[in-house]
């Protein structure tokens, strides 16, 4: 009985990826590419995706921006508020490496230094369909248990 039950929950994680977006000091180029993902042309809802208003209701975190000093505490706080299992997608080159803002004293420059990142979507900004594809990949990782939040739970 337990096998079927956990198999059902795994499949449901892939089928209903609820998404929450956080802007950690971004130039809002990536943020205005997330909204069209749920507009009629691309419609994230066809893969079950819903843009949630509260981190507690979400399981995929879209982070954009090169993590400025003042948003660091906010990013950690929101990441801890998301109930696990959770996946983190870094939108564009800013969370990956700080993009053109690298070397600025008020920018941390890499999301990896603050929260564990599961997926990088290159582009400045990435196209909406690239973001949707990343959400689908993250949902598949959640199903197979390959996200870092699930791996860390396994080994500690």
């Amino acid at each position: 009985m337990n096998g079927i039950f956990s198999k059902l929950i795994n499949i449901s994680r892939r089928r209903s990826p609820w998404v929450y977006r956080i802007n950690a000091g971004s130039c809002n180029g990536c943020d205005i590419e997330v909204a069209p993902c749920f507009s009629p042309r691309y419609d994230g809802e066809q893969i079950g995706g819903v843009l949630q208003g509260s981190p507690k209701h979400a399981d995929i975190l879209l982070i954009s921006g090169p993590i400025t000093l003042r948003t660091r505490a906010m990013v950690e706080d929101v990441y801890n508020q998301i109930p696990s299992p959770k996946a983190v997608i870094a939108l564009g080159s800013c969370p990956a490496s700080g993009n053109v803002f690298r070397g600025s004293p008020t920018v941390i420059g890499s999301a990896e230094a603050v929260i564990p990142v599961d997926l990088y979507v290159p582009g400045c900004p990435p196209r909406p369909q690239a973001i949707l594809e990343a959400i689908q990949t993250a949902a598949r990782m959640l199903e197979k248990g390959e996200t870092r939040s699930q791996k860390e739970v396994k080994n500690d």
Partner: protein, 144 residues
């Protein structure tokens, strides 16, 4: 249009403003910014912004950029021991502008209604845009 220039020239004591492609430039070593702001307010000028340029002798050049329809007037002055009277009480739009220069170039504007830091994170020292502090701070960031 030219009576404004005459009034300004009288206020600053410099006869001829420099006419350039992008408007009139006044040089004023000792200038009372509050009087300048009041004069400009009476002529319905709008303060676009104030630029701060670091000088080698540790002082800071401040340029007030005023604009009204197609007339742009820029008045350049220098701080005295990094101090300058604030015009935020006359022009509320200068409030944030002066707070930002206070954060970035460590210029204190006397009489500013609300001298809290505007967008400087707490880890950064005051005046972190000045050359030597910027070099130090960027090296620390590189190290992390």
């Amino acid at each position: 249009m030219d009576e404004v220039l005459k009034e300004l020239a009288a206020l600053i004591g410099q006869k001829e403003p420099q006419k350039r492609v992008d408007g009139y430039w006044f040089e004023a070593t000792h200038l009372d910014p509050v009087a300048l702001a009041e004069a400009m307010l009476n002529n319905q000028f709008r303060l676009s912004t104030t630029s701060a340029i670091e000088r080698s002798d540790g002082e800071t050049d401040i340029i007030y950029h005023f604009v009204k329809h197609e007339l742009a007037i820029n008045v350049r002055t220098t701080t005295k021991k990094q101090k300058l009277p604030s015009i935020a009480n006359v022009l509320p739009s200068a409030n944030w502008i002066e707070r930002e220069i206070q954060d970035q170039y460590a210029v204190t504007f006397e009489g500013h209604p609300d001298p809290r830091p505007l967008n400087r994170p707490n880890e950064m020292p005051v005046g972190f845009f000045r050359k030597e502090i910027a070099e130090k701070v960027m090296k620390e960031r590189e190290a992390k």
